[in-house]
């Protein structure tokens, strides 16, 4: 049976990743959610890259492996996009999910390729299919769709039959 999600930041402050980020910069953590045994932390857009670097180099629980980067489009709600980073700690066998909320107006966030080179293809895919710009990405080009494709197919307002 499902237990209700915990969204109160005070109750989650003891989790190592939350504690680490809050001790560094309390303003960087916008919220957290513990649901179905998975922890998500909402991070401010401007502090994302530094937060990632901090969690990667943490002494007690280093989240050294970037599993995945993806995006969810909540159109027409604002802020429209959520970028999701799935972090894994290989030594501690822990997972944490970082989330960044972005508005629908020319959405962009700093690239984490300098923290984990693994983000390269993942971010290109999010750029290709959602139109999110990752500043500082070494090669931000379409990866799945043809170069001359119009629009970003995984956006919710993209017509499923394609543009006419």
């Amino acid at each position: 049976m499902l237990t209700p999600a915990v969204t109160d930041l005070e109750q989650l402050k003891d989790h190592p990743a939350v504690a680490r980020l809050r001790s560094w910069n309390p303003a960087a953590v916008e919220g957290a959610k513990f649901d179905r045994d998975e922890l998500s932390i909402y991070v401010g857009r401007s502090s994302l890259r530094e937060a990632c670097a901090l969690l990667r180099d943490d002494a007690t629980c280093p989240f050294n492996f970037l599993s995945d980067v993806t995006c969810v489009d909540w159109h027409p709600r604002e802020p429209r996009f959520e970028i999701i980073y799935q972090l894994l700690s290989i030594p501690k066998k822990e997972r944490v999910r970082l989330k960044v909320r972005l508005g629908g107006d020319s959405p962009g966030v700093e690239s984490v390729t300098s923290v984990w080179p693994a983000a390269n293809f993942f971010e290109r895919e999010v750029f290709d299919l959602f139109g999110i710009r990752f500043t500082g990405h070494p090669y931000l080009r379409r990866i799945q769709m043809p170069e001359n494709w119009e629009g970003h197919p995984l956006r919710k307002d993209y017509p499923v039959e394609g543009y006419r």
Binding site: L66, S67, K93, R95, P117, A118, F122, M145, P146, E147
Partner: protein, 401 residues
């Protein structure tokens, strides 16, 4: 995917170099991978994978389907390990629903999942050896693969696109003689692995083509997101089945093979040892197979038996409701990762409380592993590219989705 002219700057960067295009239709790129090489004589200066030729928009398609209708789509992502994809998707949705799966279904899932791993590794071993020039191994591997595909057909009716694992359990009770056939295969198989190893492991030509080739350090492998045998071949001892168990893997005893060298040969050794571990796990599953139901007790999610539908009104109603309206899944999100033959396969599913997933994203192990290719190949010979691509075991269906 893109037109040849517009994808990547195809101009050589130096006077003495030239650009060579490899793929997408090339027998050693395992599907439709395109690689652009900048070469100086036979030496690689720059290498750039170009993907997307098999992009079918499965993630978008999922958003228009009911949860149970997504299962057949997951088969088609990684067509060499359909059951691993079924498992990962089913586990993710079950986590969203908070559904308990009966032990027999879990054990069946583990058993079929390990057979799938063997199936996938056999295709990898055969084609990888074929790429490097060892023709015979291919025929040997496909001989055993045929046996496994027959088992899949017996249990699910399909050889490749099985869709055998469903949300809440497995589709059907295995046929009567099925476990005997699996046991027969499991008894025969270890000697077949010896045959492959006899052909390759000590073979001087094989060693010369693979040892010291496409070497990758543990730090690079982690930083570039490698997982599975590609990561373990570099000496990182991490396997999701053992370290973050799911679907009852904690009940099984198995070793996680690792190798330290980080070259093509090390990855080969890891996978061949995995063949032996997997068949041992199949044996364990057969020995300890629990009795009981194969589907969870959740009438609103799991389709009722045909027999019940003919005798019970409620069963007929639930069947009609599930088929026509699907079932609502409580709002939330999960990320479920499993150890696929290629590494960490993950499903990230967001539900908005309706009967269709709001977002389904597949974390592809091959997509991340493919990022190692430049690190592996730059400064080496063209012939090594073929060995390197084979050693990361790519499946383009999974990369492009």
């Amino acid at each position: 995917m893109a037109h040849l002219s517009s994808t990547i700057a195809l101009e050589p960067t130096q006077d003495r170099t030239m650009i060579l295009n490899m793929g997408p239709q090339h027998p050693s790129t395992h599907g439709v991978l395109r690689v652009i090489l900048e070469i100086d004589g036979e030496t690689i200066v720059r290498i750039m994978p170009d993907i997307g030729y098999l992009h079918t928009g499965i993630e978008k398609t999922c958003e228009a389907k009911f949860y149970q209708q997504v299962v057949p789509l997951t088969d088609r992502i990684d067509y060499l390990c359909p059951m691993t994809n079924n498992l990962c998707y089913a586990l993710a949705v079950e986590k969203l629903l908070g559904l308990e799966i009966p032990p027999k279904a879990q054990w069946l899932r583990v058993m079929m999942n390990e057979l799938t791993r063997i199936n996938s590794h056999l295709v990898w071993l055969g084609t990888h050896a074929l790429d490097i020039g060892a023709m015979t191994v291919f025929l040997y591997c496909f001989r055993e693969r045929e046996d496994i595909l027959r088992l899949f057909e017996a249990v699910s009716g399909q050889r490749m696109m099985t869709s055998y694992f469903r949300i809440g359990g497995v589709a059907l009770e295995p046929p009567l003689d099925f476990f005997d056939r699996v046991r027969d295969f499991a008894n025969r198989f270890p000697s077949k692995v010896d045959e492959y190893e006899n052909l390759l492991t000590g073979n001087p030509i094989w060693k010369m083509r693979t040892q010291g080739v496409a070497r990758i350090t543990a730090e690079d492998a982690i930083a570039l997101g490698a997982s599975g045998p590609t990561l373990r071949g570099s000496g990182v001892d991490f396997d999701l089945r053992r370290d973050m168990p799911y679907s009852g893997y904690e009940n099984f005893k198995f070793k996680v093979p690792i190798a330290q060298e980080g070259d093509v040969f090390a990855r080969y050794l890891c996978r061949v040892q995995e063949l032996r571990e997997s068949i041992a796990m199949v044996q364990q599953a057969l020995d300890g197979m629990p009795q009981g139901p194969i589907k969870a007790d959740a009438p609103k999610v799991v389709l009722p038996d045909r027999e019940k539908m003919k005798t019970q009104m409620e069963a007929l109603i639930y069947h009609f409701k599930i088929i026509t309206e699907g079932f609502a899944v409580p709002a939330g999100e999960v990320y479920q990762a499993v150890e696929s033959p290629r590494g960490e396969m993950g499903y990230y599913i967001v539900s908005d409380g309706t009967a269709k997933p709001y977002r389904v994203h597949m974390r592809s192990a091959c997509l991340a592993n493919l990022q190692l290719l430049p690190k592996m190949c730059e400064g080496r010979l063209i012939a090594d590219v073929v060995a390197a691509i084979g050693s990361i075991d790519i499946v383009l269906g999974e990369i492009d989705r």
